[in-house]
Amino acid sequence: MNNNPLLHLLETPAGDPIAAINSTVSQLSQIILGKEIQIRLAMACLLARGHLLIEDLPGMGKTTLAHALAHCLGLTYNRVQFTSDILPADIIGVSVFDRNNSSFHFHKGPIFAQLVLADEVNRATPKAQSALLEAMEEQQVTADGHTYPLSSPFFVIATQNPTYQIGTYPLPESQLDRFLMRLQLGYPDAAHERQLLSGRDRRDLLSEMPVTLLPAQLLILQNRVPKVHVSTALLDYLQAIVSYTRTSNKFVAGLSPRAGLALLRAAQAWALMQGHTGVLPEDLQAVLTPVIGHRLVPAEDAALNKPAEIGAHVLQSVAVQ
């Protein structure tokens, strides 16, 4: 499971990190067919140091995406299957009494990995959920008075199954905006489905693929994201969007300042991936739906149900500045 990243360090070309991102994306596209946009968005989310929530039916490739991402980026990877009886300790770790030293020893939980897949978070109790969310927020874990920093980079991909409502604890709306983006993978189109059916097993394919971006490079890129130039014109556009959601009666409540900041970061990451020196309105538009789709609650009579509809509505209601 644990690929040594050092092994690949020598093999990776130390060239343009943006080219590296692009090759990562194309490599991933071979694993998860026909989902290049979602892969790019997931990469942008990673670059912006955000966390990702994937909400979709089982079997759509959520787990594959997370696994492939970890593989291609050479990140340590842990998967946590959330169930109704999972306890916070099962996620963050537990202190065990060591008889040899007669002292407590902290056993790190699965959260101590660079990429953590939290599968079906809505099946866990709010308490277990909040343990995860807290760790995501603070980038550290506190147990028995000791603080343990999480790995860096640290990227959580949580998945949520939208079909079961009863007997589950869907993430509260107020907690949803801890995730920078929410994606839906959706069904593949016919051609890609055919390719999937006729091709090799994806897992075998994955194990043959090289690491395309080193964690060190990823960290450099993550540091470059906030430095991508944001013009006043773009800030005007962003503010117009935020202000529209606040003034429109299509939504119960508008975007919070935190949401505005998230939108900016995501757009900066997207612009970086596109190789732009400044954020363009198109960069902002590209990340708009995944960033605001789960942060806006449409009004009862707004006739906006899917996140894509929300995104499109906001996009079309605000003129580019």
Binding site: H229, T277, G278, L280, Q316, V320
Partner: protein, 659 residues
């Protein structure tokens, strides 16, 4: 004592107290010029009310109740009534208005009360203008108006809580905007000839001419350098020695006091004048008296509702309470009243009682020694010239026989003494004579060629009736030898130019400044304060309307209203225009317009890359340009690499793009 300290810390006042403080200041400003002509208790009462009201507000005390307020209002009313014996008239009205302001302040709690205070302040300003229209008042007037208007604005800002300074800026700007229309209204609103009602005149007499002359009394000659009137001659003015401005003719003498005759003398007199006439325009300051000084013989005057008496006094129907302008045609060489009727002769030779016996005796002796009347006149003048008579503005008081005392004892006096004594000597010898008071000389201002006649130019002289020559002017004061003028004129604080010459040399900067100041003042008086229908007509004819009537003025008013309306709309429309866009956006907008004309409309939410890529697909011929335009626009607008030459290139490309 802490109570007093709390009052002094204005910074810590509650908002309502600050509003009240502002209003109090405004009332004080409006009241200040009135302090000169109101009894002192009124400003004191109003100030007291202000302090009381502010104390109440700062300490959140209760307002005086209704009963107390009613009693105070009644007391104020009674006090004004007792002081002025009337509620009618400018002074009483002003006093009442001021007291009302104080009363109103004591019950003011809300915006409506405050508004009334503002109206009171405006009316106080207005009342001050009825008293005085001097130029020095103008800046004060503008200042107070601005302050009052600022208060109005500050109180009605709709709870926006903008600072007083901001209110001041805004109201000043609005006043400046109102100024052109105000000026147009001033020029174009037709003026009424005369008044249709009159407030009872103010009691306090100004330093002008009296209609009495008592040279024997303790002299309080307080002639100031205040301007009596200004004259603009058409052509050369008469020489200084000829500039005798006749105002009042005194006929009746009781041995001590010279008075006007009780009834107006209206018998027409025959006047023969030479060709030597002077046409001039006189701007007369308000004197509160009906007589108008004129240069010798007025042949024509433009003054409506006036009359010329047979002893040639020009009398207005009503006292002059406003600055007036009179056009006069006057003659200085004349023969007048050659045939003296018996009533007149008796009037001007009467000497009451048996006062001044020594003078009578002297007169009879001297007349007997003279061949005829004119020789006698010279003999009497020689008496003043050769004997030890002195000119002084501080003469000793005279006894019961004023003329005797003057001629034989004191021998010190000014024009009144000499005119009185000379006229007495004439009458004692049976020659008709009378005292004329008025002004002599006047100073020609070289800046604007106006002749300024001041109160200090007031003078008294005599007129003697000589057979064949009629009434002849004799100025006995002029007979005094100049070296016999006693020192002390300056110390008396007066300025008698006719006798002392210029105290300031003509090159002195103070003199020059005074001349300039007076020129400005004259302009102010002549063009602004006395702007009338004639001036209106000349302004209109300057604009090309010859002989405009009311209808023309009405049209002009309407047109200026409409133009002002339009100008205001345009100006404010520009001021309130939507925010300006930067040149990059402007260029992009032009680009979008051009492409839209070619059938490629931009969606509002479409970013530049999307739009221009779409356009490039639709117009493959322009793809290269569109790609460059897209790069340029993105670089300029969204990246840190914006350079001026890129903007120029963007503009150039947009310009070159086929429309």
């Amino acid at each position: 004592m802490p109570a007093g300290i709390a009052m002094l810390r204005v910074q810590a006042w509650p908002e309502s107290a600050r509003s009240l403080g502002m209003l109090s200041l405004m009332l004080l400003m409006a009241l200040l010029p009135h302090v000169a002509h109101l009894p002192v208790w009124i400003p004191l009462c109003v100030t007291g009310a202000m302090v009381w009201r502010l104390w109440i507000e700062v300490h959140a005390a209760a307002l005086p109740n209704k009963w107390l307020r009613s009693i105070m209002a009644l007391l104020a009313l009674i006090a004004v009534l007792v002081n002025f014996r009337s509620l009618n008239g400018l002074e009483a009205g002003t006093a009442l208005l001021s007291m009302m302001a104080g009363m109103k302040l004591l019950e003011s709690r809300q915006l409506r009360d405050y508004s009334i205070l503002i109206f009171i302040a405006l009316f106080l300003l207005f009342a001050e203008l009825l008293y005085e229209q001097s130029m020095i008042l103008l800046p004060y007037l503008l200042l107070s108006t601005t302050f009052i208007v600022t208060c109005l604005l500050h109180l009605h800002d709709g709870g926006s809580q903008i600072s007083f300074g901001a209110s001041l800026m805004r109201s000043t700007r609005m006043l400046l905007q109102a100024l052109p229309l105000a000026a147009l209204l001033f020029l174009l609103v037709p003026r009424l000839p005369g008044q249709f009602w009159v407030l009872p005149s103010h009691g306090a007499a100004t330093t002008g001419l009296n209609d009495e002359m008592s040279p024997g009394d303790v002299a309080d000659l307080s002639l100031s350098s205040e301007v009596a009137f200004r004259v603009e001659f058409q052509g050369t003015p008469p020489p200084k020695s000829q500039r005798y401005w006749r105002a009042v003719v005194l006929h009746d003498f009781d041995g001590r006091t010279w008075r006007r005759h009780r009834s107006e003398l209206l018998t027409p007199q025959k006047i023969i004048t030479s060709q030597q006439t002077y046409r001039y325009r006189m701007l007369m300051e308000p004197s509160n008296e009906p007589w108008i000084p004129v240069l010798d013989i007025p042949l024509q005057t433009s003054l409506r509702r006036s009359m010329l008496t047979s002893d040639l006094q020009l009398l207005a129907r009503q006292p002059v309470t406003q600055l007036i302008a009179v056009d006069v045609l006057a003659a200085t060489e004349y023969q007048f009243g050659v045939s003296l009727d018996e009533t007149m002769r008796r009037l001007d030779t009467q000497l009451a009682g048996s006062l001044n016996p020594r003078s009578r005796e002297l007169a009879l002796q001297m007349r007997a020694a003279s061949n005829d009347d004119s020789v006698y006149v010279n003999t009497v003048l020689n008496l003043f010239r050769q004997q030890e008579f002195f000119y002084t503005l501080q003469p000793p008081a005279l006894g019961a026989h004023t003329v005797d005392d003057f001629l034989f004892n004191t021998r010190r006096g000014f024009c009144e003494h000499y005119a009185s004594a000379f006229t007495f000597m004439m009458r004692a010898a049976g020659i008709p004579a009378r005292v004329v008071t008025g002004y002599q000389g006047g100073e020609l201002n070289e800046v604007n060629n106006y002749l300024v006649v001041r109160q200090s130019d007031a003078h008294a002289w005599a007129e003697v009736w000589l057979a064949d020559r009629g009434w002849v002017r004799v100025d006995p004061t002029a007979a005094i030898a100049p070296q016999r003028i006693e020192q002390g004129l300056e110390s008396a604080g007066t300025y008698n130019e006719a006798l002392t010459g210029h105290m300031l040399s003509r090159s002195h900067w103070l003199y020059q400044m005074r001349q300039n100041w007076d020129a400005v003042n004259t302009f102010w008086k002549a063009r602004i304060v006395n702007f009338d229908s004639d001036d209106q007509r000349s302004v209109m004819s300057l604009l090309g309307f010859s002989n405009p009537d009311w209808r023309t003025l009405g049209w002009a008013l309407l047109i200026s209203f409409i133009s002002f309306f339009a100008a205001m709309m345009l100006w404010l429309g520009w001021k309130y225009r939507p925010r300006q866009r930067d040149p990059v956006v402007e260029a992009y907008a032009t680009l979008k317009r051009k492409l839209s004309r070619a059938g490629i409309d931009a969606l509002p939410h479409e970013g530049p890359v999307d739009y221009l890529s779409r356009a490039a697909l639709a117009k493959p011929a322009l793809a290269g340009e569109l790609r460059e335009l897209c790069d340029l626009y993105i670089t300029l607008r969204y990246t840190p690499d914006a350079r001026p030459h890129l903007l120029n290139r963007l503009r150039q490309l947009v310009r070159q793009l086929p429309a």
